[in-house]
Symmetry: C2
Subunit: 320 residues, 2 copies
């Protein structure tokens, strides 16, 4: 792309905190710390698939970084570095500047050095790769859940899904709720502090990007377990108060993605530790059920005590 | 994408050598070694910009890995891990399998663990991020060239550019040359062994992906130096024997990219060390000139001894 090197120089070369050599060479040079494992994750966001072609670039930049940093939170890792490769249909300096500002703001918020990447011409595509560190053996992976563990979710999942439905014109959110839902959608807050606080506490964890039930399915499959979700425990109130429609609110909560909340399992003996960690951080967490030994089966226990199966994927089959 | 998880599981989950946790979680877990700096580089390849939409997928897979691994060679780093994110216009299992086989074959050749990535729906886009290790302080960067250093190029640059011109229908290569040129284009060999052998020998280095003169310009700019290229020293013979046309051969040699040869500077005192390293590895290297103190000026010394300026970018302006 004409001006590729200029673009990189003007927008991508930001100050770094723990990097020996950043943008501008064949590779960046990083100082890793002894005793740490490196954690790596890549995400690719495509125009028309993951975001609207006319998405506001600063918010899109934030979200691109946030979605990646959230993967570090989900591993209980400290996010440290990120690269960004992007394809642009045309050289659009204003767009790049706004995007870079949003991306950089999110990185700065979470202590992440933006160390380089690539720019090229092509249909709009954003690919970030994030690196974190975790003391050896302390990462929280998906496969560690055990029958009897309790299941928890952070924050107020479902708001982002409502925001998306609003933008798609499928629902009309009241003005008061709109801001909160669109902010959840456009400026998600990766739960890095919670992830770090859950080292040694959670047995399995991931960030909810595909929807709570779908992502719960990933934990269960990897851990060879099942789950019992208690309807009465679900944090329905915030999403119901935004939506006003119970079926819609439950759908957003259980199958909406994009909130980047942490879903995790922890032993009963760690219940107080979980609550203490959440209080320290100032982020609500909600116990929503427990891990069972029925591999890959998710049951929902209604308020009447009756238990009915839930498909881990395809919440549409669940009559609420 | 429907089947995304299946695709990943079937094709992306390869055996690893120095990885604690590979594909399948929020992130991969890597064992870095003490005393090492981590080197990171990202490249994005777009259909229609970097390769033909109907490119043979196995060769494309090889090249995607090779182009990235080459960045590690250029830093004198040992390539260790790679992630791949790809966007596909449709679920095409055969294509993905062939692509993954080529990508994996290249990784295996160079001892690189393929540790994960992302798949999504979208216009064909391939984004790889590669990680290498180098003992602290031993990376060879672009900024270290000093006036008086000699300039070297590895291998037989220009063949890939001829192959590309042949595919574009701009030239017609004789059958004997065609295979060598298309192989240089489709299955480039990153110069990892040479890069490692030049630790402590080369003062500045990069891999030629934008063309010899253009990339030389990057070294000179970063090193605040100039260069004198000696026409009589240029390794024109291999590319001339393939092309048969001297102007075309010189153009391919000086401004063709895609060969992924290493261009490096080394002090005169290291000339024998360079030659010894090349011989040990079995890869020809050619001394093509020297670094001067005239910042950002590239002079070409003709066979008659006359010196004329060369534009670092835009070889088209150079009447050969």
């Amino acid at each position: 792309m004409a001006g590729e090197f200029d673009l990189i120089r003007r927008h991508f070369a930001r100050a770094t905190q723990h990097t020996d050599l950043g943008v501008g060479d064949d590779g960046a040079l990083l100082r890793t710390r002894p005793g740490m494992q490196l954690v790596v994750s890549s995400d690719m966001l495509v125009s028309g698939t993951h975001f609207f072609p006319d998405a506001e670039p600063e918010a899109l930049g934030w979200k691109t970084a946030a979605a990646n940093i959230s993967d570090m939170a989900a591993m209980a890792a400290e996010p440290r570095w990120i690269t960004l490769a992007l394809a642009l249909p045309e050289s659009n300096d204003k767009w790049v500047e706004a995007f870079a500002n949003g991306f950089s703001a999110c990185c700065t918020s979470f202590g992440v050095d933006w160390i380089g990447g690539d720019t090229t011409r092509g249909p709009l595509n954003l690919c970030a790769t994030v690196f974190g560190e975790v003391p050896h053996g302390q990462a929280v992976v998906r496969s560690g859940a055990r029958a009897g563990d309790e299941l928890w979710i952070s924050g107020t999942p479902g708001l982002a899904a409502l925001g998306l439905q609003h933008l798609l014109g499928n629902i009309e959110l009241p003005e008061g709720a709109r801001t909160a839902c669109l902010s959840a959608l456009h400026r998600p807050q990766p739960r890095v502090a919670l992830g770090l606080a859950l080292r040694g506490v959670a047995t399995a964890m991931l960030d909810v990007s595909d929807g709570l039930l779908g992502d719960l399915g990933h934990i269960l499959e990897r851990s060879n377990c099942g789950a019992l979700i208690e309807d009465a425990l679900l944090p329905l109130a915030p999403v119901l108060s935004a939506s006003g429609d119970e079926a819609q609110a439950r759908r957003a909560l259980l199958s909406g993605g994009d909130d980047y909340e942490l879903l995790f399992a922890a032993p009963l003996s760690q219940r107080q530790a979980v609550l203490d960690a959440a209080q320290r951080i100032g982020l609500p967490v909600t116990r929503i059920g427990a891990v069972t030994d029925q591999a890959n089966v998710i049951l929902l226990q209604g308020k009447d005590g009756a238990r009915s199966p839930l498909a881990a994927r395809g919440f549409d089959h669940f009559g609420s």
